[in-house]
C-alpha cells in the first residue's frame, strides 16, 4: 500500500500545476456546495424565526355557517361556540397542552387614563392565551385563573399602550377606563409579533362576557398540542371536531362549518418549500462538483496519454491491468478527496465565520439566522467526494489498462 502511494506520489509531483488546478476545481465545487447549504439553513432558520410570534404547534378554530343539511336542519345555520366547547377541550381532550378562547369586543375602544386617551384593540381571553401568542410579560403579571373565576376587572396592557397612556408613570395598580368601565392594570406585555400586537389590551374573557353582554358565547377557540407529531395533531383535531359537531349538531364532515387555522400545516407547508429549496441547492452544488469531476477526468486522461510509455514499460515488466487501474484510480481519488476535503473544511470555516460574525453584530437580519452545516451533510459531501473521485478516474484508468505495450514502446 505504501508502495502504491509512493508510485502515485511520483505521478502527482511530476505535474504539480496541473494537479493543483484540477484539485482546485473539485475543492471549489465542494466549497460552493457547503456555502449553499449553509445559506439554505440560514434562510430556513430565518423563516422559523418568523414564526416565533405564535406557537408553531397551535390550532385556531372559529365557528362558521353549516353547508350541509344534518339532523333535519337546513344548511346555512350560523354556529356559535360557548364556554362548554372551551371546557370540553380544556378538560377532556388528551394531548392538548394549553387552551384558550377569545371573546371579541368589536371595534376599537377608547381607553383613558386620567386626561390621556386613545383607541386600542381589546382582546378577552383565558390565562393560557399568553402561550399561544407567546406574550412576554415585562411588568407585573398576565391574567390568572383567579381573575377569570372572579370576573375581575383587570387588564394587561401592551408596551405601546403604556407608552401612550402613562407617558412614563408607573402603570401597575393604576385604573384605566375602557368605554367607561374601570379596570385595574396588573401587567404590561411585549410581543415579538410587531407593533400592532402591543397596541392591545387583554382582559379576562369572563369579565368581557359579563360586561359586554356576551353571555357564555366565545368567538374563537385555540389550543396547542405540545410536541405532538403531525399525525397525533391530526388525531387530536379530529376528536375536537367530532365533539363540537355532536354538541352543535352538524355534519362532522361539513367542510365549511368550522374555520380551522392549522399553524402546524402552515409551518409544514413553508418548511416544505424549504425542503424544495434545499434540494435545489444540492442540485446546484452537485452540478458544480460534476464540473470538477469532468475536469479531473480530463486531466487524468491527458495524464494517461502522457504516461503511455511509462505504462507500457510497467506492463512489459509484469504490471497486470488491475495494478494499472488501481494506480490511476487511486491517484484520482486522492486528488479529489484531498482537494474536496480542503474545500469542505474551508466551506464549513466560512459558514462558521459568518455565524460568528452575525452573533457578534448582535442585531441579526430576520430572514437569515444561524447558518450552519451539520455533520450528516459533511459526511454526505465526503461520500460524494470518494464516489466522484472513483468516477473521475474510471475512464482514464480503463484507457490506461487497455494500453498495448508494443504500441507504447514503439521507437519515437
Amino acid at each position: 500500500m505504501i508502495d502504491l502511494l509512493q508510485e502515485i506520489g511520483y505521478g502527482i509531483r511530476k505535474n504539480k500545476l496541473r494537479t493543483f488546478l484540477t484539485a482546485f476545481s473539485v475543492g471549489w465545487g465542494i466549497f460552493i456546495l457547503i456555502i449553499l447549504l449553509g445559506a439554505g439553513s440560514g434562510l430556513l432558520n430565518g423563516i422559523i424565526y418568523q414564526f416565533r410570534d405564535g406557537a408553531i404547534n397551535s390550532i385556531w378554530i372559529r365557528p362558521q355557517r353549516t353547508s350541509l343539511a344534518y339532523g333535519g336542519m337546513q344548511p346555512g345555520r350560523q354556529l356559535r361556540f360557548t364556554n362548554e366547547d372551551y371546557d370540553y377541550v380544556k378538560n377532556n381532550v388528551k394531548g392538548v397542552e394549553h387552551v384558550t378562547a377569545r371573546f371579541y369586543l368589536w371595534g376599537e375602544f377608547t381607553i383613558r387614563y386620567k386626561q390621556n386617551y386613545s383607541a386600542f384593540d381589546v382582546r378577552s381571553c383565558h390565562p393560557d392565551h399568553r402561550y399561544l401568542e407567546k406574550t412576554l410579560i415585562t411588568k407585573g403579571r398576565f391574567l390568572n385563573d383567579k381573575d377569570q373565576l372572579e370576573k375581575r376587572k383587570v387588564a394587561v396592557i401592551g408596551t405601546k399602550v403604556e407608552e401612550i397612556l402613562f407617558k412614563g408613570v408607573e402603570p401597575l395598580d393604576k385604573y384605566i377606563t375602557i368605554n367607561n368601565i374601570q379596570y385595574k392594570v396588573v401587567g404590561v406585555f411585549d410581543d415579538e409579533g410587531g407593533e400592532q400586537e402591543v397596541r392591545q389590551l387583554y382582559i379576562p374573557i369572563s369579565t368581557a362576557q359579563m360586561a359586554y353582554n356576551g353571555g357564555n358565547r366565545i368567538h374563537h377557540l385555540m389550543y396547542t398540542v405540545g410536541d405532538a407529531s403531525p399525525k397525533e395533531n391530526d388525531a387530536i383535531l379530529n376528536e375536537v371536531k367530532k365533539n363540537i359537531a355532536e354538541r352543535h349538531r352538524f355534519d362532522p364532515n361539513d367542510p365549511r362549518a368550522l374555520s380551522i387555522w392549522n399553524n402546524i400545516e402552515d409551518f409544514k407547508r413553508i418548511t416544505g418549500v424549504f425542503d424544495a429549496i434545499g434540494i435545489f441547492l444540492w442540485v446546484v452544488g452537485l452540478g458544480t462538483i460534476v464540473a470538477g469531476i469532468v475536469g479531473v477526468s480530463n486531466i487524468m486522461l491527458i495524464s494517461v496519454k502522457e504516461r503511455t510509455r511509462e505504462i507500457g514499460i510497467r506492463k512489459a515488466l509484469g504490471a497486470t491491468p488491475s495494478s494499472i487501474v488501481s494506480l490511476i484510480l487511486l491517484e484520482s481519488i486522492i486528488i479529489t478527496a484531498g482537494a474536496g476535503y480542503l474545500g469542505l473544511l474551508s466551506g464549513i470555516g466560512l459558514v462558521e465565520l459568518i455565524q460568528w460574525g452575525l452573533a457578534q453584530a448582535g442585531e441579526q437580519p430576520e430572514f437569515f439566522r444561524n447558518p450552519q452545516v451539520n455533520i450528516s451533510t459533511a459526511l454526505y459531501a465526503l461520500l460524494i467526494l470518494v464516489f466522484s473521485g472513483t468516477l473521475a478516474g474510471f475512464f482514464p484508468a480503463r484507457r490506461a489498462a487497455q494500453i498495448v505495450p508494443i504500441e507504447a514502446l514503439k521507437e519515437e
Binding site: 505504501i2 508502495d3 511520483y10 509531483r13 511530476k14 510509455r309 511509462e310 507500457g312 514499460i313 510497467r314 506492463k315 512489459a316 515488466l317 509484469g318 504490471a319 497486470t320 491491468p321 488491475s322 495494478s323 489498462a401 498495448v404 505495450p405 508494443i406 514502446l409 521507437e411 519515437e412
Partner: protein, 223 residues
C-alpha cells in the same frame, strides 16, 4: 526453452491484410545465446513481440519453458512476462522519475516483494552489472552505456528464463556496444541464461552462438 511451430501473424488494420510472419519454425535450447537478424520489414520486431508475450499470434504454437503461450488473458500474460522474461530495449525505457535502484527493483514490485528487500536485491544486481555507485542517480544523470546496464540489471532481477533484447546496442557507440555485448556474454555464461538479441549489426551477431536470419516473414538461414 523456446519452441515455435508454424507461427503465423497478420495485421488487419490496413486495407489489405498484411501477413508479417508466414510460418516460423524455430527452437532455442536452454542457455543458448541467439541473435535474430533481418532488414526492416522482415518481421523481426513482430517475432520478438510474440516471443515477449507482448503480442498475440494467429496460428501455430509457441512454447516457452514447457508452457504453451496462446490466447492468454492480459493478467496471465503480465504474470508470465514478469516470471519468465526479461526485456532490454534499444531506448532503455527506464522510468525517468525513478533512480537506477528503483528502476531495477520495479519488476519485484509487481511480484509483491517488500520494499527494503527488493531495494537490497536491486543493489546486488547493480553491482553485478558494475554500476553500484550510481544506484541513487536518475536516468538523466547516466550515460547511455550506464542506462543500458541499469536496464540489463532490471531484466535480470526477476530471475527470468529468457532475456529478450531489442537492438540493445542501437543507441550506443562501438566501444560501449562491445561492453554491453561482453556483459551479455558473461551473464549467458555465468547464469546459463537463454538470450535472444535482435540486431542489425553483424559484429554483434557474430559474437552469438547462432544467427537466425529473417526475410519477408520467413526464416532464411539458421546457422
Amino acid at each position: 526453452m523456446i519452441t515455435l511451430k508454424q507461427v503465423q501473424k497478420s495485421y488487419f488494420n490496413t486495407a489489405t491484410p498484411l501477413q508479417v510472419l508466414k510460418g516460423i519454425d524455430m527452437h532455442v535450447a536452454e542457455g543458448e545465446f541467439v541473435s535474430i537478424m533481418g532488414s526492416s520489414g522482415s518481421g523481426k520486431s513482430t517475432l520478438l513481440n510474440i516471443l515477449g508475450i507482448l503480442d498475440d499470434y494467429d496460428s501455430g504454437s509457441y512454447e516457452l519453458a514447457g508452457t504453451l503461450v496462446k490466447n492468454l488473458s492480459q493478467t496471465t500474460a503480465a504474470r508470465y512476462r514478469n516470471r519468465f522474461l526479461g526485456f532490454v530495449f534499444q531506448s532503455f525505457n527506464l522510468l525517468p522519475f525513478k533512480t537506477a535502484q528503483e528502476n531495477v527493483a520495479l519488476p519485484l514490485y509487481y511480484q509483491k516483494v517488500s520494499r527494503s528487500k527488493r531495494n537490497q536485491i536491486a543493489l546486488e544486481y547493480l553491482d553485478k552489472v558494475g554500476i553500484r555507485d550510481w544506484a541513487h542517480h536518475l536516468p538523466a544523470e547516466l550515460s547511455g552505456g550506464q542506462k543500458q546496464r541499469v536496464a540489463i540489471a532490471r531484466a535480470l532481477i526477476s530471475k527470468p528464463r529468457v532475456v529478450l533484447a531489442d537492438e540493445p546496442t542501437g543507441a550506443l557507440d562501438s566501444v560501449t556496444s562491445q561492453e554491453v555485448i561482453n556483459l551479455f556474454r558473461q551473464i549467458n555464461r555465468d547464469e546459463k541464461l537463454t538470450m535472444l538479441v535482435v540486431t542489425h549489426e553483424n559484429e554483434v551477431a557474430a559474437q552469438t552462438d547462432r544467427i537466425i536470419r529473417l526475410k519477408d516473414g520467413q526464416i532464411l538461414l539458421n546457422e
